[in-house]
């Protein structure tokens, strides 16, 4: 029955550009028809492992290989990317970037075009595959007309058309909102059952992948396989958490409460998770002891009144939004793609001008301020740091905004150094930016805004594409800033982020505010999560199991999490 399809034997790989090997002595066998989840931090080697399967290593990224890696019994290094692509279909993380066609049909057909398949055979085949991923009505649509989830479906169709036996997903959830991510996981699962393929998912959002069953979880750390086992066994241990991977919320809640988790409790699925009465009592008692909430009651800093905006005068993007942000708050703007949350932030910093309505900063109408004048008061950090960095050295980059404003040289030096210290970049101040990791670059961009001493910092998806360790690093840094009095607004669809760090949130649906208040309430309300393309947290289910109101339970969890973080500091 068990027929191995992928076999690594004492496999090591070193990129020529690096001194140390990225993968060390990998021994791994994956059988036909298995569904495997590979987890690990950025830089752990999990993506490198994936690239060994599709041939990007060693044909595109060259390096030194020792040991063997066989797919269907053949050494990958004796094949080519093109040959491997007939067996291994890869869906990359960025569903927009990998969309190479001008419309859906063309993109799905891409592999067939390269195989010189005649038009008469190609067209029906494209239609058939598009139907499998529910995209047959969109064959003529351009990528700009599609949502992130739809583009991912197209990418999936584009590899399915090759009738591959192995489907490899490289962080399939990274660019999707929670609800779309959930649908994607369900789609992958259904497809696997239908076409009987082997599925490998590389992802660090463990809880979201576990929404459907997986056969094995493999933990990669520092180029080695640390753990390879049944999901229930893996979750019962603390190995994942020790290696910086976030456990499902309900599992960590139970662990916080002191419940001893064993594999026979089925911790890999909230629906099958079984708790004894004494464990329930333990969790309930723990939750009740963390109920108290502190509400920040400060003066209003930023106020939007009845804002309206449209790009083309036809389709309204912002439709009468009023809100206020208090001094010292960590404030979240949430909503699904296209709901208007990014547009709202553009109005706040003056990149776009509202058609009607008023924005007040400390009770002053800021309509007539230029982009730069606003930039000094309300700074914005874009999602992609590469879009912001315009100098080659860290010091220059951080000093840049001040230099443009004609601040005196001594003052610039003083402020830049102070900011670099806050951001933990002081030791690197004379480094070139190209030597930094993605997370460090992100910190440089935050520093380059912080140095202007804005009253408010807006961050667009600050943790997008970050694994749990780097996510925690960025968020704890922002939390420290916030504790020091910095007001922060975040645009996000990361549920953990808003749950654990934000004081208040507004949910935007179709250009209007649908909900305003505590994030813990938003994420246990079915209507709100559905409208905003979020998903209910598993704490909701756990609260039901132990018999406590879901929003109180969620709030207790957040309080407990926060106090643990503070103890650590």
């Amino acid at each position: 029955m068990k027929e191995p399809i992928i076999e690594f034997k004492d496999f090591s790989f070193r990129y020529y550009a690096q001194k140390k090997p990225t993968l060390k002595h990998i021994d791994l066998t994956i059988n036909k028809g298995e569904k495997v989840l590979i987890v690990g931090l950025s830089g752990s080697g999990k993506s490198t492992l994936g690239n060994c399967l599709n041939g990007l290593i060693p044909f595109r990224y060259e390096g030194e290989i020792t040991g063997s890696c066989k797919i269907k019994g053949r050494e990958t290094k004796d094949l080519s990317i093109a040959e491997l692509s007939k067996t291994v279909g890869t869906v990359l993380q960025d569903s927009d970037g990998q969309f190479v066609g001008l419309n859906v049909g063309e993109d799905i057909a891409f592999a067939l075009e390269n195989d010189n398949v005649p038009l008469e055979k190609m067209r029906p085949k494209v239609k058939e595959i598009a139907k499998m991923v529910d995209m047959e009505d969109y064959l003529k649509s351009s990528p700009m007309e599609l949502s992130g989830g739809q583009k991912q479906r197209v990418a999936l169709a584009g590899v399915l058309i090759d009738e591959v036996e192995i489907l490899l997903f490289d962080e399939p959830l990274a660019n999707l909102d929670p609800a779309t991510g959930k649908t994607a996981i369900a789609l992958i699962d259904d497809l696997q059952k239908k076409i009987d393929s082997t599925v490998i998912i590389i992802e660090h959002r463990l809880e979201d992948v576990l929404y459907r069953h997986v056969d094995r979880i493999i933990l990669v750390s520092d180029g080695e396989i640390i753990l390879d086992g049944d999901p229930d066994e893996v979750l019962a241990s603390d190995v994942l958490r020790d290696h910086g991977i976030r456990e499902p919320l309900y599992v960590s809640a139970a662990k916080f409460a002191g419940v001893k988790i064993t594999p026979d409790m089925h911790p890999s699925s909230i629906d099958e998770f079984s708790l004894k009465d004494e464990d329930r009592a333990k969790i309930l008692a723990w939750a009740k002891s963390h109920m108290e909430t502190k509400v920040k009651d400060e003066d209003i800093l930023l106020e939007g009144r009845d804002l309206r905006f449209s790009y083309d005068g036809i389709k309204t993007i912002i439709d009468g939004i009023s809100f206020d942000v208090k001094k010292g708050e960590m404030f979240a703007i949430i909503g699904k793609n296209g709901a208007g949350k990014s547009t709202l932030s553009k109005l706040l910093v003056g990149f776009e001008r509202e058609d009607s309505g008023t924005i007040y900063l400390e009770n002053r109408d800021i309509k007539d301020d230029t982009i730069y004048e606003r930039g000094k008061e309300i700074g914005i950090v874009l999602q992609n740091p590469n879009q912001m960095i315009c100098n080659t050295m860290i010091y220059d980059e951080v000093a840049y905004g001040l230099k443009n404003g004609g601040v005196k040289e001594e003052e610039i030096k003083e402020r830049v150094e102070e900011t670099l210290k806050i951001c933990g970049l002081y030791e690197m101040r004379n480094w070139p930016i190209s030597a930094l990791s993605y997370g460090q670059k992100k910190r440089v961009t935050i520093a380059s805004i912080l140095v202007m001493r804005p009253k408010i910092i807006i961050l667009d998806e600050p943790t997008a594409g970050q694994d749990y360790r780097h996510y925690t690093e960025i968020m704890e840094f922002l939390e420290r800033l916030n504790d020091a009095g910095q007001t922060i607004i975040m645009i996000t669809h990361d549920m953990h982020l808003m749950l654990e760090y934000c004081d208040r949130c507004i949910t935007i649906v179709d250009g209007k505010i649908y909900y305003e208040g505590l994030p813990s309430k938003a994420l246990v309300d079915e209507k709100i999560t559905e409208k905003a393309n979020l998903k209910m947290t598993s704490l909701y289910d756990l609260a039901k199991i132990v018999g406590m109101s879901p929003d109180d339970f969620t709030q207790s969890y957040i309080n407990a999490e926060r106090s643990m973080r503070h103890e650590k500091d």
Binding site: A109, G350, F351, C390, N391
Partner: protein, 278 residues
């Protein structure tokens, strides 16, 4: 937002739109070469009429392209004027006669011959202009690559062209984002700043643009290679449309026009110009 719409393809379902991309490309080339090969005003006027009739059939939205036409007219009028300034006697030389309209001085003398020569040139431009615009207006961008490949342009070059069309809006959006983020940090690219300052500022925008574009290029080339791009000597095109009867007719008509023009040029008039002055 509005800018990107200017050259976007809209399928209006006319007979011209229904022609295959390859037909359009061939016809465009034939008709433009035809009008390049002759200075015969009679032929040029007929060609102009043909190109206007085609535009009419294709429901070409002249109003939307008004600005393009204005630029073009300014350009050819400027050219017209320059022509006279640099070589006011060229018409006489060509036609061998001299019918003076009025005299400014010995050098600048306006003659009917000069006017006639410049008029012929003007019509020539006017012929090609709507043809070119029409071509871009009625061709489905994804079909364009397959058409180029159809006239034996190597397929890698064709893909580069299609990719440029695909990613241009993305890069444009990146540029806008970067530009605004830089303005928020005090860069001034507006007309208020001095030229030197603006050049420095623009270069600061280009650096992040180049880096984010390089990221994109790596991703795209990986994505393409992972789906077998570049392994074979040829490839087929999903958007390619087989030539049908109407395509054959259209190509035949254009070949006929092309041959007729050549015939007139080499066997009937036997000169580049038709001379009404003799």
């Amino acid at each position: 937002m509005k800018k990107t719409k200017l050259f976007s393809y809209v399928d209006k379902g006319t007979i011209i739109h229904k022609l295959s991309g390859l037909t359009k490309l061939i016809c465009f080339l034939l008709l433009s070469f035809a009008s390049m090969f002759t200075y015969d005003v009679r032929v040029l006027l007929i060609l102009l009429a043909i190109s206007l009739i085609i535009s009419y059939i294709a429901k070409f939205p002249f109003r939307r392209y008004k600005i393009v036409f204005i630029y073009f007219l300014v350009f050819i009028l400027f050219n017209f004027f320059l022509n006279f300034l640099l070589a006011p006697g060229y018409g006489e030389e060509l036609f061998g006669t001299r019918h003076v309209i009025f005299v400014i001085n010995d050098y600048f003398t306006l003659t009917w011959e000069q006017m006639f020569y410049q008029f012929a040139k003007l019509i020539k431009y006017l012929c090609i202009m709507p043809l070119g615009l029409m071509f871009f207006f009625t061709i489905d961008p994804s079909e364009f690559a397959s058409s180029l490949n159809g006239i034996k342009v190597p397929y890698k070059a064709c893909t580069v062209f299609a990719l440029a069309l695909r990613y241009f809006p993305d890069i444009q959006r990146d540029f806008t984002n970067i530009n605004l983020a830089q303005q928020a940090r005090g860069i001034d690219t507006s007309k208020k700043a001095s030229l030197k300052q603006r050049i420095v500022s623009i270069s600061k925008i280009l650096l992040p643009l180049v880096f984010s574009t390089l990221d994109r290029v790596e991703l795209i080339s990986n994505a393409m290679e992972l789906r077998g791009y570049g392994k074979a000597k040829s490839r087929t095109w999903y958007s390619y449309r087989h030539l049908v009867k109407r395509d054959h007719i259209a190509i035949a008509v254009c070949i006929l026009i092309f041959v007729t023009v050549l015939f007139m040029r080499y066997f009937v008039v036997k000169d580049l110009f038709w001379n009404p002055f003799i």
